[in-house]
Structure formats: structure tokens, C-alpha cells
Amino acid sequence: MPGNPVTYTPLLTGVRNASVVERRRRERVGNALVLAGAAVVLLALLVIPLFLGASILAWLPLPDGAWSRLGILFAGSAKAAVCALVLAVPLGLAAAIFSAQFATPGFRSAFKPVLEILEAIPTVVLGLVAFATLAPWLKANVVTLLALIVAIPALLLAGALAFGGAFRRQAGWLPLWLAPVVFAIVVAVVAGLGPHQTDAIVPPTPWNAVLVGLALGLAAIPMIFSVAEDALMQMPSTHVQAALALGATRWQAIHSIVLPAARPGLIAAFALGASRCLGETMIVLMASGNTPVGDPNPLAGLRSISAELALGLPEAAPPGGAYRMLMLAALVLFVLTFVLNLLAERARAHLRRAQATPVIA
């Protein structure tokens, strides 16, 4: 048996030697410190919007063209976020469904730390890989990327129809069987198509929204996965068992019972992922080219609100028009992410309440 987790020996000396008055005084001081700590947290949340609002209001009016520039920046942020979510939402949600509903506990306990490591990798590193390595490749290989997006799901579905029955018993560890397959598909498509592709699609710039979407999407997967998986794991297994007893297949039970019940949690995952993508700075700063064009083409460059803040603020002096514009941009970013977080929090609270109410009396 391991040692006792709580140390008792030094416990009583200070208390035994103190008078009752002294102990009550310590109690009051302790309570005051705890309250002060909590007050600092509340203050921190309040001070951000108050400060940003005050710095804008103090020096109205805004310079000409501030709103149109803000519109372009917002469009840039939105374009980057959409490109990233197109990659991250399907991958994150599907991986979460697998982990929560199909995986063995052994696979789950190994898979989650791997995604936690991805979440821990600093985004400046992902930005570097996108900027220095992926960008030159993507500029010449857009066709390969499109082929990969089609080939991986198509070949997996074909594999499911051909070998699905044989692997049904290994369902809990299936990704380990499929990972080499996915890797082989990627290698085959990249090597086979790489030198032979026609220059049918040539992006105007190597640093574009598709590149941002690839790197930012990878960064957003862990958050979407963990929130969605949490929600799916909260679903009581009795529901699935009841459906199975009534003759449904496992997927029918998941599709018609688990997913609808967990919908608030999935919406929360989407909202938090979107908030993360909108606010992310380093990846967008390094991989987007930072050209302020309001072009919806995903192969064109963009400039996001966060990148504008990182690039512009060190040069802007406090009372100037540029400074106020940037403060307004920061406030817009804060409000956007705040609303998305609030939405996610309310959805999750709704889910918790629904779980607390017993369905079967």
C-alpha cells in the first residue's frame, strides 16, 4: 500500500499554540484573501471590454475608412475560420463519435493524450510548418490536395463495404489498422500525382486561405474533439442498450438516439472551435500572407483581425486614429469570441440539466 496521501505530523503544532482570538483572526484574514482572489478574476473579465470600450469612446469619432477596413479584416478572419472548420469539424466530430461510442477503453486512454499533445504544440510551430514547408508544396500541388480530400473518404468507404464484416470484431482498435492505410493513400496520391499534375489550378499566392485552413484546422481539432467527446460520454449507456435490445444496429442507435440527445454538446464543440479559429493569431499571421483583400476566393490571401492587431499595435501610438481603429478591432474580436463562448456554455448547461432530469421514472 502506498504511503498515506495526507501528512498529519506538522498539522497541529500551529493550531495548538494559537489562542482562540488568534485563530478567529486568521480565519477572517484567510476568507478575505480568498474573496480578493475571486474579485480579481471578476475584475479581469470586466476590465477587458471596459478598457477597450473606454479607449474607443474617449477619442471619438473614428477615422474615415475605419469601418470598411474592419469589414475587410472581419471577412479575412471569417474566411480563415471557415476554411479551418471545414477540415476540423468533420474530423473532430467523427473522431469523437468513434472514441466515445466504438473505441475500447484501452484505445481511448491512449488516443486522448495524443490529441492533448497536439493541443499543447505552440501554434507558432504550426505556423512555421505551414509557412516554410506546406506553402511551397501547396502552391504546386493544389490538385493533389483535392485528390486527397476525395480519395481518403472514398477508399475508406469502399474498404468498409468490402472488408467491413471481417473487421467488425476489431472495431474498438480499428484506427490503428486504418492509420497505415491512410498513410499509404497519402503517400501514393502525393507521389503518383505530384510530378504529373497539370497546372490546372495555380493559386495566385503561396500563402492563402486553404493553407491557413490546413494548419488552423489541425490546431482546432483537439478542442472540438474533447468538447464533443465529453458530451457523448455523458449520454447514459442504457439508451443505447435499450435500442440494441429492440433490434437496432449499433450505428442506428447512435444515429437516432445518442447524436440527437448530445446535440447541444456538439453545438458547443462547434462554437468553441469557431471561437478558437477566429481568435488564433500566430498561424494566421505566418501563413496568410496578410494582404488586406476582401476576396472570397479560398486560394487568395487574407488579413485577419488578430494579425492586424499583432502587426499594427506595436507601431500605433495611443491617441492616434490607427490606435483607435485597432482598439475597435480588438473589441469586435472580444465580442465575437465572447458570444460564441456564451453560446457554448449555455448549450453545455442545457445538456447538463437534461442529463440531470431522469428520463425513465
Binding site: 475571486a38 478574476v41 471578476l42 507558432v124 510548418v129 467491413g164 472495431a171 484506427p175 489541425l218 481539432i221
Partner: protein, 421 residues
């Protein structure tokens, strides 16, 4: 039949998504390791001959499609002697065993062929050349000697200074800046984080709910917004006031009124506060309620119980929170760009001169070095490998801290299983 087919398809789609994530993560980590290490691996010196008889001696800097870029002897300035070569125009390519390389103090590299006397002659022919070491013959050495050279270069990279404006210097100032910043940040965030967690653990009701949702929302605020707050409130607001009151004799040169270590640490403390609070509160929540009841029954007050029993019992959770906060802070670069990180700091933030820690100094940071080397380097073909080397170092630090947190968390669970049993 149709039902099972659609079930198989859905299962394979979900498993395929998980597999794709795994492949992407493994590929990313392998690529980072390979690119980071190969930046420090001694490159062979190649000699490339052309049809017209002339030859180029140098290091292969880049290969993209049919175009090779060779770095020849940099007689004038660093990054000034790249040769772009079409692969089809090459008639011969060799790695002569008598080729040598000399690294100069300012980061330049000189190449030549011959023995020690030839190297000395080459050095004499360059005006004011300061060699950083002796000449080397990398082509003549086998794998083990090259490994030894690699380890020596890695050591130089870790311990060398970048105080001189060179491209090839070490990452030591950036490492010291990162560690000092994170250490100061921990000192600020831990007391507040623990106090807030204790508050949330002990109180229920409207105010506690408000604090709880404030924590949840603070966690979702983008890091760049914290940077804006740090710049506007700490640097331009408080910092300017501090200067006016205490350092008026030095104005208009700002002391605390420009970005510096203290403001960056405060900004990061705000950024990591939610991580600490959530982790500590979870640790307190795991402690069996019998412990609290027993302590109260023996006559201890709530404060004494918290300070002497519950917080010591939650020590692993405090440590987990601290490690996660450090990992998050070490990876946050965007807010630092606004509150005091610089590409070349004139002095370290910690040194032997009183008061040893200089909170108003600007500092260097590993994450910012990655950004700066990749995007702002005057010599891009050296900047990218350097950025990868810094990135590998940063990832090793951050991933090691996170793995430590995961191991600690599992130990914590083991401990309380014993306590409950």
C-alpha cells in the same frame, strides 16, 4: 444487409477520421524532429562542375524541384553568395575529401580545398575575418565523428548567445528569457488561481456562479486580446504612471512605460488563470468529503482545514495546474509581441548585477525567435532551419511539461483511490 452495410460505412468513416488525426500528428512530430535536427547536422561540402569547365564549391542550402541552391564562400557578407543551379546543367557532382569549411565570428562560412596551410591562406585572403573555430573537413569524417560534431553544434546552439547580430548564434538568451518570464508568471498566477479555486470550492450561489462563468469566458478570450489589454492598460496606462511618479528623472526615456518582462508576465498570468483555477478546483473536488467532516469534527476551523489538510492533499492538482499553465504560457507568442518581446535584447533579464531580476527590461523568447527567424531573417535559407531548431526546442520543452502533467494527474487518481478504499 443494407443496415449492416451503412453501419460498417459509418464505423469506418469515424475510425478513418481518428486514423487521419493520428497520421497527421505523427507526421507533424516526425517532420519537426527531422527538420529541427537536420538544421544542426553537419552538411557535406559539395563540388558541382558545369559543362564550361568551371566548378562551384559549397553547401547545399535548398533543393526545390530541378533547382538547387548552393551556398558558396561568403567573402563579403553572410547570405551574399548563393548560387542558383539548374540540375540539368550539372555535369559532375562530388564531395571531395579535402574540402574544408571555416565558420567566422559573424556567422559567415568559407569553403576551400586543401590542408591546414590552405585553410590559413584562405583566411588571410579575407579582410578582417575572425574565425569562430578551427577549419573542419566534414567530408573526410565518418558517421561517428559527424555525430560528435552534431552534438557539439547542438551544445553551442543551446548555450551560445545571440547578442551579436549573427544568424547562426545560439538560443541561450531566448531560452533564459522564456524561462524567466514563465517563472515570474507562475509566481503571480498561483496565489490568485488557488484563492479563486478555494472560493469556488467553498461557496455556492449567485456570486460563485458569476465567478465560474467569468473563468469559463476568460478561457475563451483570444490570446491576442490579452496582449492588447497588456499593452493598453499595463504598458501605456500603469507603466506610464509609474514612470511619472518614480522614474521622472529618466523621462522621456521610458522605464516601465514600454514593454518589459513584468508586463509580459502579468499578461500571461491573466491568460493562464483559468487553467490553474479549473485544475485546482477539480483537485479539491476529488478529495473525499469525509476528510473535511473529520477535521471539522475535531475542532479545526474551515480555514485551518483548507490550509493544513485540503490544500496539502490537493498538492498534485496544484502541480498539474502549474505545469499546464507553464505549458500554455511557453507557447503563447502573440500577446508577447505587443508587451515587450524583442528579436535582439541588449542584456539578459537576469544577471549578476543588483537587483538580479530586471522586470522592466525587454527580453527574447523562443517562440518569437521561431517567428522572427522564419519571417524576418535577412537570409531566408539560414532562417528557416534556425526557426525549425528553435521550434524543436520549444516543442520539446512544452510537450515534456504536458507529459509531466498527464503523469501527475494519473498519480493523483491513484492516490485518492487508496484514500477512498
Amino acid at each position: 444487409m443494407k443496415r449492416t452495410a451503412s453501419g460498417d460505412a459509418a464505423l469506418w468513416a469515424c475510425a478513418g477520421a481518428a486514423a487521419t488525426c493520428l497520421v497527421a500528428i505523427v507526421a507533424l512530430l516526425v517532420w519537426l524532429g527531422a527538420a529541427g535536427l537536420s538544421a544542426l547536422w553537419p552538411a557535406p561540402i559539395v563540388e558541382i562542375g558545369f559543362a564550361d569547365g568551371h566548378a562551384v564549391l559549397g553547401e547545399m542550402a535548398e533543393r526545390r524541384g530541378d533547382t538547387l541552391v548552393i551556398r558558396g564562400s561568403e567573402r563579403e557578407r553572410a547570405g551574399g553568395s548563393y548560387v542558383r543551379v539548374d540540375a540539368h546543367a550539372i555535369v559532375s557532382r562530388s564531395e571531395p575529401r579535402d574540402a574544408f569549411a571555416i565558420t567566422l565570428h559573424d556567422g559567415r562560412r568559407l569553403f576551400g580545398r586543401g590542408d591546414v596551410a590552405a585553410a590559413a591562406a584562405l583566411l588571410r585572403s579575407i579582410p578582417n575575418a575572425e574565425p569562430a573555430g578551427v577549419a573542419e573537413w566534414p567530408n573526410a569524417h565518418g558517421f561517428f565523428h559527424r555525430t560528435a560534431m552534431f552534438l557539439r553544434d547542438a551544445g553551442r546552439f543551446l548555450a551560445g548567445s545571440t547578442m551579436a547580430p549573427s544568424l547562426t548564434g545560439g538560443a541561450f538568451p531566448a531560452l533564459v528569457g522564456t524561462v524567466t518570464l514563465v517563472f515570474l508568471m507562475s509566481l503571480i498566477v498561483m496565489p490568485f488561481g488557488i484563492a479563486t479555486a478555494v472560493y469556488l470550492h467553498e461557496r455556492r450561489g449567485f456570486a460563485a456562479g458569476l465567478v465560474r462563468s467569468a473563468i469559463a469566458n476568460l478561457a475563451g478570450v483570444p490570446s491576442i486580446v490579452y496582449g492588447v489589454l497588456g499593452l493598453g492598460l499595463f504598458v501605456h496606462g500603469i507603466g506610464a504612471d509609474v514612470d511619472r511618479w518614480f522614474f521622472a528623472d529618466r523621462l522621456p526615456v521610458p522605464t516601465f512605460g514600454s514593454g518589459g518582462l513584468l508586463w509580459a508576465a502579468l499578461t500571461l498570468a491573466l491568460l493562464t488563470l483559468p487553467v490553474v483555477v479549473v485544475s485546482v478546483e477539480e483537485g479539491l473536488g476529488r478529495i473525499p468529503p469525509g476528510l473535511l467532516a473529520g477535521s471539522l469534527a475535531l475542532g479545526a476551523t474551515r480555514g485551518e482545514t483548507m490550509w493544513r489538510l485540503l490544500l496539502p492533499a490537493a498538492r498534485p492538482a496544484l502541480l498539474t495546474g502549474l505545469i499546464l499553465a507553464i505549458a500554455r504560457a511557453a507557447g503563447a507568442v502573440a500577446p508577447l509581441m505587443l508587451v515587450g518581446v524583442v528579436r535582439l535584447a541588449p542584456a539578459l533579464p537576469v544577471d549578476g548585477a543588483f537587483p538580479f531580476l530586471h522586470p522592466s527590461r525587454q527580453f527574447m523568447h523562443l517562440g518569437f525567435s521561431v517567428y522572427d527567424a522564419a519571417l524576418a531573417s535577412p537570409d531566408a535559407l539560414r532562417g528557416i532551419p534556425r526557426a525549425y531548431a528553435c521550434a524543436l526546442l520549444l516543442v520539446i520543452v512544452v510537450v515534456a511539461l504536458n507529459l509531466a502533467a498527464i503523469v501527475l494527474r494519473n498519480r493523483l487518481r491513484e492516490r485518492y483511490r487508496v484514500l477512498e478504499g
